[in-house]
Amino acid sequence: MISTVILKEVLHKALSTGADFAEVFVENTKENVINMIDSKIQSVNDRVISGVGIRIFKGTRCVSGSTSSMEREDLLACAAKVAGAMEGLPEGKEIVLRERIFGDIHPIILVPSTVDKGYKAELLKRGYFAAKDYHKDIVQVSANLLDVDHNILIANSEGLLTSDRQIRTRMTINAIAAKNGENQTGSCSPGRRMGLELFDEIDPRDIGEEAARQAITMINAGYIKGGKMPVAIENGFGGVIFHEACGHSLEASAVAIGQSQFAGKLGQQIASTKVTAIDDGTIPNAWGSINVDDEGNPSQRKVLIENGILKEYMIDNFNGRRMGKNGNGSCRRQSYQYAPTSRMTNTFIDNGTDNNEEIIKSIEYGLYAKKMGGGSVNPATGSFNFVVTEGYIVRNGEIKEAVRGASLIGKGSDILMDIDMVGQNLERGQGMCGSSSGSIPTDVGQPLLRVSSITVGGR
């Protein structure tokens, strides 16, 4: 995208005021989204995101800049601006860029940009009408098909030159059921680091039906009465519990500066012995997978927590400086416009040893959270909240009526200790995770598990 000669010039300019490290991140992303609503293709949008991010470090100080221009003069101006925020003399470092190829473990069979839009529209319609025709109370469906072809190149003053091409495809279907002046929603949105062959693995019709099934279930549900109770959280997107309650607090961006409840706790027990949690960016074709991270470090599989003991954090090179550690393939950014930082990839609680049926049977009165929505966390205090989009009351060990309006709140360090049963049906779900370096694709996951007691919001 940019010649090695210019990259070197820009790196030198960036180092000209005494920074000890400089990095250039070049991006060219093609994005296509097809939207459907009211049973018709409503919009089709093509977008090219293209630009350059420059970062320099001096000790524990980081200066960054970005420009959407790819022209030499603009890049040098951006590097000069970035360098201008430091004061000092260049160390006179010689930069020799040597290309490294880490390889691609994510085969793409059907590259979306090479496929006719009419074909994509047909795939979307298949999912759309499966939702629309599911039940007479489904009054509206909105759906979109997104494909992204994200090309990145990273060069730094230590001589690294590498690139990656990340192709992702995702279909999202939202269904709305209406009855007696009320609305309820359901949604399903699987995605992969794949091309359109994704839909050989997952039939779009199943996506539509799943969204509609949830909406219909919830329109016929009553509201849950809030309070403290045991909760069984189902697999797949249920893993958002770990992502929010713990994952964000294990990111170096919080740990390095003491803004995490888990800072300084390596080797200590932070979760019940039932919990083993992993962040793995190397799963072939998984939504959150990367060959290299946005600093050019190869992706890794990291055991974060093993039988309750904290083993590792997710670390980027910059925050690693404060921690005396190297980056472990965890540095990510939405685009060149965001300064990158430590983030998750595919993060999940591993299978345990409890029998799934026993988990439900063990609950006298509580909540079975079959589908989770999103949530958020305050990493400093560990306070989190997330929403149950499809929940059921459990009475005397049996799953009973569906309930609306439940949310789960608590503190990360408490809930990790309160996970007292972990089942055996590990699955992952897809999400977009928002944080300081923007919105990035991540998988969450877990098997069915039980939290002995948690505050359930309701009315």
């Binding site: 939207n35 009211d38 018709k40 093509d46 977008r47 100080r61 009054v139 309006g405 919001g457």
Partner: protein, 449 residues
């Protein structure tokens, strides 16, 4: 190439392709920001980004394509892609490239002070230092940040419109952490203003005090409470549920206000206005994303729904004029419906202290978490984790947290019993500001202990 050359190139290609109805929408933004932590400058960033979106009516449909790369190849690609995309569209919506002969309100272009990098850096360093001087309990990891942003946007179309506007503002904020026993408490405060108006010392003091005040907070008993939303949290509720007021959402059945114009949908205390020229706001915009002139309008008046917010397409469908709310979330996105300065108008219930007296017993809500997940504008349902203070015998007493408030936004509007006289705007988010006074909502379900 520069935007002006790119624009001329686009026009040339569009004319060659025989397009009669097309538009180019352009945004450019310049930002600088700095962050101080552990008594040093830890982050500094600067950016200059631009993007352009071309759309055209081809065979009766509107196709879009956009780019950040201004080259001849890209100019040709976006025109051709937009035409190709138009052919896939099935929607029968009336689409428009605006040829109205509107008169646009004259407002000043970006006119606030642009801080130099040096000023920005010295300000955050000073602010961070002062946090520790204000309260002994302030813990390392507390931080200060400052930023300045300039946004320019331009719209030109085949009907002769050639519009330009810009605005700018600065922000200064602090995040304070305190520790007491095993518990960590934190909170932040961010101000939006002209850079020269920032009072560093006051912000340090207010932020530190705000967090120290929450020490020792515990959950509340599960039950039904009258809630006193701080002006900031009431504005946050509006920002979460504003799409209920979008005619585009309503016509899709995504808002329960569909067809409710003229009906009473809220308590008589509620008047909501959308004002593109709101005096104290830094977001003042004379034309929308379709080129329609903007104006101030009441959306709700004493509980009665006056109008939903419209763009050209939804207005045409409803047989009325656009309300000038055809805005884009980002330069590349399709025209949707968004407000400018969207406010619950001040009422007559006085200051928050006077409101505490009037309510006698309830919870004063000062923070809400997880809005993007725990609130659903389509259904109106919300179930949110909250923080605040108990109000007992008319006084703010002890701090509370770890509880949820649950209900439905459409119901909430009907349960508003008191509206304070102290309306304030929240910080702008994506070119939109929400504002509200302290507001009382009666009988809301709370789940805690």
């Amino acid at each position: 190439m520069k935007y002006i050359e790119f624009k001329n190139q686009i026009i040339k290609i569009a004319e060659e392709k025989g397009l009669k109805d097309y538009e180019l929408y352009y945004t450019e933004s310049e930002d600088i920001s700095a962050e101080a932590l552990m008594h040093e400058l830890t982050k500094f960033s600067t950016s200059k980004d631009q993007g352009a979106c071309f759309r055209c009516i081809y065979e009766g449909k509107m196709g879009y394509a956009s780019t950040e790369l201004f080259t001849d190849t890209e100019a040709l690609r976006i025109v051709e892609n937009a035409m190709e995309n138009a052919q896939v569209i099935e929607s029968e919506d009336q689409v428009f490239i605006y040829d109205g002969k509107d008169t646009y309100q004259k407002i000043e272009e970006a006119n606030t002070t642009e801080p130099s990098a040096k000023e920005l850096v010295s300000t955050v360093l000073e602010l961070e230092q002062r946090l520790f001087q204000k309260e002994e309990k302030v813990k390392e990891g507390s931080e200060a940040f400052a930023g300045y942003g300039l946004v320019k946007f331009a719209l030109c179309n085949s009907k002769g419109l050639d519009l330009f506007h810009s605005y700018n503002y600065s922000q200064l904020g602090a995040m304070v952490m305190v520790e007491e026993g095993e518990e960590v408490y934190n909170g932040y405060k961010i101000l939006t203003d002209d850079f020269k108006n920032f009072a560093i010392d006051k912000l340090a003091e207010d932020t530190a005090k705000k967090v120290v005040e929450t020490i020792g907070s515990e959950s509340v008993e599960t039950g039904t409470y009258d809630l006193i939303f701080s002006s900031e949290m009431m504005a946050t509720m509006l920002s979460t549920f504003f799409s209920s007021f979008s005619a585009d959402a309503a016509r899709r059945g995504l808002s329960l206000f569909k067809g409710k114009e003229g009906e009473v949908v809220a308590s008589s205390k509620v008047t909501i206005v959308d004002d593109p020229f709101y005096e104290s706001s830094f977001i003042k915009i004379p034309f929308d994303g379709e080129g329609v002139a903007t104006y101030r309008k009441n959306v709700l008046e004493k509980g009665r729904l006056v109008t939903l917010l419209h763009n050209l397409t939804t207005a045409c469908e409803a047989g009325i004029k656009s309300t000038g709310n055809g805005r884009k979330l980002g330069y590349a996105s399709a025209v949707s419906v968004l407000p400018y300065n969207f406010l619950l108008e001040p009422g007559e219930a006085g200051t928050k202290e006077e409101i505490f007296k009037a309510v006698e017993r309830g919870i004063y809500i000062t923070a809400l978490n997880g809005l993007h997940a725990g609130a659903n504008p389509t259904t109106g349902d919300y179930s949110l984790s909250a923080e605040g203070f108990l109000v007992e015998e008319g006084e703010k007493t002890r701090p509370v947290k770890n509880f949820t408030i649950s209900g439905n936004f459409y119901e909430l509007l009907k349960k508003i019993t008191l509206v304070g006289s102290d309306a304030k705007l929240n910080n702008p988010e994506g070119g939109v500001c929400f504002g509200a006074p302290t507001t009382v909502v009666e009988k809301v379900s709370v789940a805690g202990k």
